[in-house]
């Protein structure tokens, strides 16, 4: 919003400078006039585009974690898979729920509630695994339920408040006007600390 307003002001100021022109009308050659008109036309055209078409959107899947609502960008999502059954592994940090079998492939599932200090909720029929990936990494995120998919204008995202119960800025990209916390999938996938590599107990 701020950005759009700023640009509008910008154009107005351009318009002002053109108002001063009539005084010098007589000395304008047709070429100069032409170029002024062209510039003005361009400026107007740009304003229109800016206001409507050029906003950047991202597609997100919106899901629930305990009492909160989160979103994660669709382009990182391989698929959403129902959590039918999972196998817990002994001796690994609690933020890893366990492993699941996705058509013969083993995928690990991370419980983000552990990162965000959210209360536990029993697993049920609504639970889904959102499998996110990039070239090097792939794992599932446990979701309590899936709400919907929607587009969100990136510029409308606000900086998430530094919360007292441990939600840091590290994995968060921002928060929407209607309180959907958008996760930064890119950073989550690239975080070396999320990889379990135990050389000894």
């Amino acid at each position: 919003m701020q950005k759009a307003m700023f640009e509008r002001n910008d154009i107005r100021s351009k318009g002002n400078s053109q108002h001063e022109l009539p005084d010098q009308k007589n000395i304008l050659s047709p070429e100069v006039k032409h170029s002024i008109l062209k510039a003005r036309a361009q400026a107007l055209a740009v304003e229109k585009n800016d206001a409507a078409g050029q906003k950047e959107f991202m597609e997100v899947i919106v899901f629930g974690l305990a009492t909160e609502t989160y979103g994660i960008e669709s382009k990182f999502i391989r698929e959403v898979y129902p959590l039918k059954d999972y196998t817990a592994l002994p001796g690994i940090p609690s933020f890893v729920l366990g492993i699941v079998n996705v058509r013969g492939q083993i995928v690990s599932v991370i419980d983000f509630k552990k990162f965000f200090n959210l209360p536990e909720k029993g697993l049920g029929e609504l639970n889904k695994v959102i499998i996110i990936r990039n070239e090097k990494m792939e794992f599932g995120i446990l979701a309590d339920n899936i709400n919907d998919a929607r587009s969100i204008a990136i510029e409308e995202l606000q900086t998430p408040p530094v919360s007292t119960n441990g939600i840091g800025a590290a994995y968060l990209r921002g928060i929407t006007g209607d309180q959907i916390i958008i996760l930064d999938a890119q950073r989550i996938l690239e975080d070396r600390d999320i990889i379990i590599n135990q050389e000894s107990t």
């Binding site: 001796g91 079998n101 792939e138 999320i194 990889i195 000894s200």
Partner: protein, 761 residues
């Protein structure tokens, strides 16, 4: 057209490279054999073979216009032609020269390039001198002429063949086309094999479906019996309408049963043939990828010879069981470990000829590498040398020097365990690090690689007599069998290769010796541990012997699995052994690169995912558990429990990890995201200790430490800085601002952190 020709030539060169490598291999192994000075008959056979290889290689080189190779081969051919005709024997120096020639051919083949004409010339001249030294008798003028000018000779081609008519007649036209073989790039076979392997999954699933059908049949049987009751006269007389419905039900039931029985039979037959077909298919696929051991050992004898000579030693390698076929993927991974072991034998075991003679040994050392396929379809490899052996005392000294173990722990080890220390990373008895070995990594890498393949390694040595390394590996990677085991609600698979046996014993047979549980099996005392405890699985007490203890304490039988790894044997208590089965081990996913105690997971016929145990890790954990249990019981519990720690890190993961580590050690934890947040919390909090990251927004760890130290109330609070910064300046700065400890993340492991915290509290 030009482009086409070019492409064709490129393909031709690639073909040449493959062929040439084969000739070079044959040439080399022929030379090695010949150098061992075999009996006359064998020798002439070898000379003939070498001559033939040189000749074929020459022809092949000519077809791709590699003149340098051609000319060297020409001379080699001459030399061996002459040796053949005049029964000359070669000296070691002359062998060296010939090896050098073969090496340079090999280099030219692999580079596809050339060597400087001058070098080539020099090499050829040197080679020629071999025959000239032997030319005591008359040499045909014509032949001398051709030898002086081999390049010209070679390019004119066929003229040479007139000179040794016997050989050419026999070998021209005898191109190495063997009947019934076809060359397929391995890259094409690999996916095929993987697909075949994936089919196991469906074979297992078919078995499951088949048994599910049987269950359905059972249900129908039950229904039928129930239904029959309604046929009795006392019901049918009373309500005729109901009788009609019942008759109709009976009809449908019969129909349904007939169908289901037919389907069940069909399914069983299908499942059996599917299973058989998949097994056969996999077997054939496996055999396609099974290569003889010789594919990796070809170069070894020469390697041993060269390496020994470069150290002024003499050594010979004897390879036994070269023909044994092993999965190519295992062979590929095995080459490096074997080279490491050979190096180790030459560097440490075999001494210089003079020293050897003092010990009443032959001047030439002997290394034996024997391959053997065991009945249980395992590959057994023994690498022995007749060198000086390993002196346990030296191992002990080196272990102390390199800081692997302290004196106290060393004394507890038996001789065998002491010897096993040589496989520890960083262990080396060498006084000096050489480029061959001494860096203390070689044997550790061997162990790691072998374990990765699901094998084990051990060593035996008698000082003064020699050393034997013993490797046990699966012959193929896919035939993986495991024992499906239950502990509480958890199922795990234990690789059959590591299971010596499964026994049921009476609870009272388990004795406690020095607060450790043991059992006497076959006259040997075995350490006994609960698998659940080692893995950290809480079984909750139901179904486990604890509950039964009250009622029938003396008649409770427990299930034991005796696992073997390298030289260790431990009995593990499990709740139930479900079955032994064929399994396909899969990786745990990209996020779980390495999980302690677990090597992968497998999918059962029911779709259930079950972790597969890494027995090497498990044995280590089992040895550690009793120590840690003891320690934690004796000291920590009371003193530690109530300490309150503030963990500060801007990364969620690091924060969560540290929090988990500390919580599981019994501390109360609160977290903060940066220095500002932390300071506020510290003011309110009543913490006993602070663990903080350094690099953070708003207020970093140094600033926070300084601020706390300036505060009157907080100035005594112990502060541990945990950081990725590794510079000395930072460490000093950390001390300057008043931190009590400074742990670098790269050297960061749980015990380190916990130890530091314990000290400070």
């Amino acid at each position: 057209m030009d482009k086409k020709d070019e492409e064709f030539f490129k393909r031709l060169q690639a073909t040449f490279r493959v062929e040439a490598e084969e000739h070079i291999r044959e040439l080399t192994s022929g030379l090695i054999e010949l150098e061992k000075a075999p009996k006359f008959e064998k020798a002439s056979e070898l000379i003939e073979a070498i001559f033939r290889e040189a000749h074929s290689l020459k022809g092949a080189a000519r077809s791709v216009n590699m003149k340098e190779i051609e000319s060297i081969c020409q001379v080699l051919e001459n030399i061996f032609g002459k040796i053949k005709n005049e029964h000359i024997s070669l000296s070691a120096e002359q062998f060296d020269l010939i090896y050098k020639a073969v090496d340079s051919i090999s280099k030219m083949v692999s580079d596809g390039g050339t060597i400087a004409p001058k070098d080539n010339r020099g090499l050829i001249n040197q080679l020629q001198s071999i025959i000239q030294t032997h030319a005591q008798r008359k040499i045909v003028d014509e032949q001398t002429e051709s030898l002086k000018n081999p390049l010209k000779e070679a390019t004119t081609g066929a003229s040479f063949e007139n000179e040794i008519p016997v050989a050419t007649e026999r070998f021209i036209g005898e191109k190495p086309i063997q009947a019934g073989t076809v060359r397929i790039p391995i890259s094409k076979l690999d996916p095929l094999f993987l697909q075949a392997e994936q089919m196991i999954q469906y074979k297992i699933a078919a078995i499951q479906r088949s048994s599910e059908m049987k269950d359905i049949n059972g249900l129908i049987g039950l229904w039928k019996t129930e239904q029959k009751k309604w046929d009795s006269p006392r019901y049918s007389e009373s309500i005729t309408g109901l009788k009609k419905i019942n008759d109709w039900n009976n009809e449908r039931l019969k129909e349904l049963e007939t169908h289901i029985i037919a389907v069940t039979h069909a399914l069983e037959t299908d499942q059996r043939s599917l299973g058989r077909m998949i097994d056969d298919h996999l077997e054939s696929m496996k055999s396609v990828l099974m290569l003889p051991v010789s594919t990796i050992t070809e170069g070894f004898p020469k390697f041993v010879r060269d390496l020994a000579r470069s150290q002024g030693k003499e050594a010979e390698l004897v390879v036994q069981g070269k023909e044994i076929e092993v999965d190519k993927r295992i062979l590929e991974e095995l080459k490096d470990p074997l080279i490491h072991l050979i190096r180790n034998c030459i560097d440490h075991g075999i001494k210089k000829p003079g020293e050897r003679e003092c010990l009443n040994k032959l001047p030439q050392g002997k290394i034996t590498m024997s391959f053997n396929a065991t009945e249980s379809r395992h590959l057994e490899i023994r690498i022995s040398d007749d060198g000086v052996g390993i002196e346990p005392e030296n191992v002990r000294k080196a272990a102390i020097k390199t800081g692997i173990l302290d004196k106290g722990s060393l004394e507890k080890l038996n001789p065998n365990e002491t010897l096993m220390l040589v496989f520890q990373s960083g262990f080396s008895t060498s006084q000096m690090i050489t480029d061959i070995s001494g860096r203390g990594l070689g044997l550790a890498i061997v162990k790691e690689k072998v374990e990765k393949l699901g094998g084990s390694v051990s060593v035996e040595s008698s000082p003064g007599v020699g050393t034997t390394f013993h490797l046990l590996l699966p012959l193929t990677l896919a035939t993986f069998r495991g024992i499906l085991t239950r502990i509480g609600n958890h199922w795990v698979v234990i690789p059959t290769i590591n299971v010596e046996r499964a026994v049921r014993v009476n609870q009272k047979e388990i004795k406690t010796v020095e607060s450790r549980e043991t059992i006497l099996i076959d006259g040997k005392i075995l350490k006994t541990v609960r698998l659940g405890n080692v893995l950290g699985i809480t079984t909750g007490g139901n179904g486990t012997p604890t509950k039964k203890n009250h009622s029938t304490k003396h008649d409770t039988f427990i299930q034991l699995l005796i696992l073997v790894y390298a030289d260790k044997r431990i009995a593990f208590i499990v709740d139930e052994i479900i079955e032994e089965c064929q399994i396909l081990v899969k990786e745990l996913g990209k996020q779980l690169t390495r999980v302690w105690n677990i090597s992968g997971a497998t999918v059962l016929g029911s779709g259930k995912v079950v972790p597969v145990i890494n027995v090497s890790d498990l044995m280590k954990s089992a040895t550690q558990t009793d120590l840690s249990i003891k320690e934690s019981k004796e000291k920590e519990i009371e003193t530690v429990m109530k300490s309150k720690i503030l963990v500060i890190d801007d990364s969620i993961t690091s924060r969560t990890l540290i929090k988990n580590i500390l919580e599981s050690a019994g501390y109360l934890i609160e977290t903060a995201v940066d220095g500002v947040d932390a300071f506020t919390k510290t003011l309110i909090g009543g913490f006993d200790l602070i663990v903080s990251d350094i690099d953070m927004p708003r207020m970093n760890g140094f600033e926070l430490t300084a601020k706390i130290r300036k505060d009157k109330k907080l100035c005594d609070l112990p502060i541990v800085l945990v950081t990725a910064l590794e510079s000395r300046e930072d460490r000093e700065r950390g001390i300057d601002v008043g931190a009590n400890a400074y742990i670098v993340k790269s050297s960061f492991d749980q015990s380190n952190l916990l130890e530091v915290i314990k000290k400070l509290l």
